[in-house]
Subunit: 198 residues, 2 copies
DNA sequence: GTCTATAGCAAGATAGAC
DNA sequence: GTCTATCTTGCTATAGAC
């Protein structure tokens, strides 16, 4: 607060804040082992500290999960919005957004993958807030699908739900040696676009 | 073995075998709470016994998961094959198979939902066998997609992967009060079929 | 901020009586 | 077949020294 001499982006002493490392470690474990199977000890060890020390940054394991979720949604939202700055055509915009979503999910996307897979089980305020954030994100795609030139009888809701399913399911079959996220997005759009536009 | 007087479908004494109840209970818990968060005590209680007694039927918790998987794949394969007995057109056959898959997944489908969500984490023989069974099942859809009349440039592989993603993602948004599994299958096919055939 | 130590509890699995 | 009792292990979280 009174940091008249502090450098930018540092609200506290620079040397102590290992919060990002803790969060990275948690994201990696939650993705690889699942939330329930990840222990605070393991997460702490990978972040270079002991389990007890993590409670300085996060009051509980669930709070750690919530923080990973928030960061994941923040990152993927940012990536998709950045990708939408360029293209103008409705199909091109959809493909760009899908490409960014897939890249976030598939290329080292510990955070994003946790978002699609682990949600706090009990119906507390934490769970509801995360669902709200996820819904906000999905609103972007609602707009993109609504902008597509489609036959009037097409259910845009089902098309959007298909897209999310197709995208988030890629985690189960994606291999780094195979298609890139961009290629997958292109292929998905091409399947849908069939007769519509040259 | 020497059961010359035993009735059909009973290899042992009829009154003792509570294995199906145990399996049902495990499937329900694995679906509702996830594998890691389900305790042998809870599963046993819902099956009307104590935790120790379950080890008479299954040697470990993981063996219970494998058995639920096998039963789940068996059921959904049977349902899809039955649905394919009727229709003849390629799109009609795909829609029938999707409808059966979705019904298995969404209508009280504890077993099927576990198949799509929980896999043994460590790379043992159990995990590999389950993946093999799942791949065999997916072969059915490979044939159905290959039979579709599509523009030559369409990637049938990506179309098939889209379908599985779209179908298995329905668990996350399906509500019993909304669309039926049949209606969802119809809507998905209609999105894909667009200009192709009247 | 990070440590050690530990409280307090729940888990999977086993042994042996019945 | 099912029970009770228990072993062993691992977990989250806290307390207090440094």
């Amino acid at each position: 607060m009174t940091a008249s001499t502090a450098t930018l982006a540092e609200t506290a002493k620079p040397r102590d804040n290992k919060r990002p490392q803790v969060l990275d470690s948690a994201a990696r474990y939650f993705r690889e082992q699942g939330y329930a199977a990840s222990s605070m000890r393991d997460i702490a060890a990978a972040a270079g500290m002991k389990a007890g020390s993590m409670y300085y940054y996060f009051a509980s394991k669930e709070e750690l999960l919530v923080a990973v979720h928030e960061e994941g949604i923040r990152r993927i939202t940012k990536a998709v919005n950045a990708a939408l700055a360029g293209p103008a055509g409705p199909w091109e915009r959809l493909e760009a957004a899908m490409s960014a979503h897939l890249a976030s999910l598939l290329d080292g996307g510990d955070y994003a993958q946790v978002v699609t897979r682990e949600l706090p089980r009990d119906d507390g305020p934490a769970r509801r807030r995360l669902i709200g954030m996820r819904d906000d994100y999905e609103t972007i795609f609602r707009g993109l699908v609504d902008a597509l030139p489609l036959p009037p009888e097409t259910s845009r809701r089902h098309l959007r739900l298909m897209l999310f399913g197709a995208m988030n399911w890629t985690q189960h079959w994606y291999r780094p040696a195979g298609d890139t996220p961009e290629a997958i997005a292109r292929a998905f759009v091409s399947v849908l676009r069939k007769g519509d536009q040259p």
